[in-house]
């Protein structure tokens, strides 16, 4: 204790007031955040919700109970749409990869054909692909090519471009230049320099990203049917329209098992490539 009391009082005061000021600042930030949240709640939940129409806690529980009465008669009709969903996801991911190639090439600063034109174009396409929700992409393509699996594949593909090409472009930008130099030094031509110097470095990253994106695309393609683009979403939509809540739950369970399969496959696939 002697050592503590030997400190000059001023120093202790400084520490104490410093801590108090920081605490005050934290409280101010918390208060501001809660104020914003409260205003948002007032403007949305409070102003917009018609509590009486929900029918109280009993009404809500009643709806929930109806969801739990599973409709097993739907089971045989789920297999084909589930396979379709998986196919839409796979083909969409593949098509997305094809589209991503030029976008990643344009958008990687060190290999882009023109830093003033193609580089911003590539970056813009990346942002555009991600800023349009897959539902909106699907709506656009349903309008362009009609109902069916094709608009779903195209929508999934368009939505995948952003992520795949962004990661690929970053991988290209971050390659180690030393092996590239070595291949140049043994007399490799332009193609060999890229194929032996760059591709092995970025391939695991790209494959991992594609597998990751495929996994997400299963989720996405499961809702494509909501806007008329095939797969499980279509069955979900029909069951909902018929108010067959037990059937809705069955569809959701089908989606979940599909996603589980996707998780398992992508887990092993990722292990295989890295």
């Amino acid at each position: 204790m002697a050592a503590v009391s030997a400190l000059p009082g001023m120093r202790i005061d400084q520490v104490v007031t410093g801590r108090r000021r920081r605490r005050y600042k934290r409280w101010m930030i918390a208060a501001a955040a809660s104020l914003v949240i409260t205003l948002c709640i007032l403007d949305t939940i409070v102003a917009d919700t018609d509590w009486s129409r929900m029918g109280g806690a009993l009404g809500i529980l009643g709806t929930l109970a109806r969801y739990l009465q599973l409709d097993f008669s739907l089971l045989p009709h789920l297999f084909v749409p589930a396979v379709e969903t998986l196919m839409i996801a796979t083909l969409g991911t593949l098509l997305g990869c094809v589209f991503s190639l030029p976008v990643a090439w344009f958008g990687a600063a060190n290999v882009t054909p023109s830093i003033h034109f193609f580089y911003p174009l590539g970056r813009f396409l990346m942002v555009l692909s991600r800023s349009i929700h897959e539902i909106i992409w699907a709506l656009l393509f349903v309008g362009a090519v009609g109902l069916g699996a094709l608009p779903g594949i195209l929508a999934v593909a368009m939505r995948s471009i952003g992520f795949i090409s962004k990661i690929t472009a970053e991988a290209i930008e971050n390659i180690d230049p030393k092996p590239v130099e070595a291949i140049r030094a043994v007399g490799g031509n332009q193609f060999q320099v890229k194929y032996y110097g760059i591709v092995p470095q970025i391939l695991p990253v790209i494959l991992g990203t594609i597998i990751f994106e495929w996994d997400i695309n299963i989720r996405r393609s499961a809702v494509m049917g909501l806007v008329g683009a095939g797969g499980l979403g279509l069955i979900f939509f029909r069951q909902m329209a018929m108010f067959n809540y037990g059937g809705v739950t069955m569809v959701i369970l089908a989606v979940l098992s599909l996603i589980l399969i996707g998780e398992i496959v992508s887990h092993y696939a990722r292990k295989a490539v890295i």
């Binding site: 030393k178 092996p179 070595a182 291949i183 030094a185 043994v186 007399g187 490799g188 032996y196 470095q201």
Partner: protein, 250 residues
Amino acid sequence: MAILEVRNLKVQYSAKGPEILHGIDFTVDGDDFCAVIGPSGAGKSTLIRCINRLVEASEGDIILFGQSIRPMGAAELRVLRRRIGMIFQEFNLVNRMSVMDNVLSGRLGYTGALRSLFKAFPRSDIEQALHILDRVGLADHVDKRADELSGGQRQRVGIARALMQKPEILLLDEPTSALDPKISRDVMSLISDLAREFAVPVLCNIHDVQLALEFCNRIIGLQDGYKKFDGPAKGMQKQDLDAIYAMEVL
């Protein structure tokens, strides 16, 4: 007979940048193991890289195998480069490729587009690669990935890759400075044995004077872009070293 002749070599990385080499002249003969020594920043690495044009010279002449290399076009340069083996400071291996593929990539200059696309190298290349890997002591690591190896082993892969080219000259760019002293000595002694076996002249830039004096028969001393010494390693005196390292006071 001179394999390599360098005349009045000057290098400037950009038009307004400083001149790194201010007119270097020397020759390397068929049986030379020639070391370039000097303090860091003297331009040793730049000098080595000019020989296979990883760095472009701005003035002067480099005559290798009787050809002037500076006016060469891209295709000619590739044909020249496959006759030059290079071993790098940080090995410059493709880490995610196997040892075998890294070694085989030394043959790329001789391999056609279709074969290199499918990584289908001729059988003779694969046999040669196995022989060389055996010779550098990596026979048990053929299918490992390059990043699974230790530093010394990786540099052996780099040596094997350079030998795959059946080089007519070897360029070594600080081959030991990423390795610890014991391994450095092993690697240098391996390289000097192999250079004798394959009868290939070596131009080696090295910062460790002890290793240079031990393994090389000729020393070129650089200081700040000027040649300060050129002569047999045996005749080198303490004052010669002092002259080369005079700038490095601390």
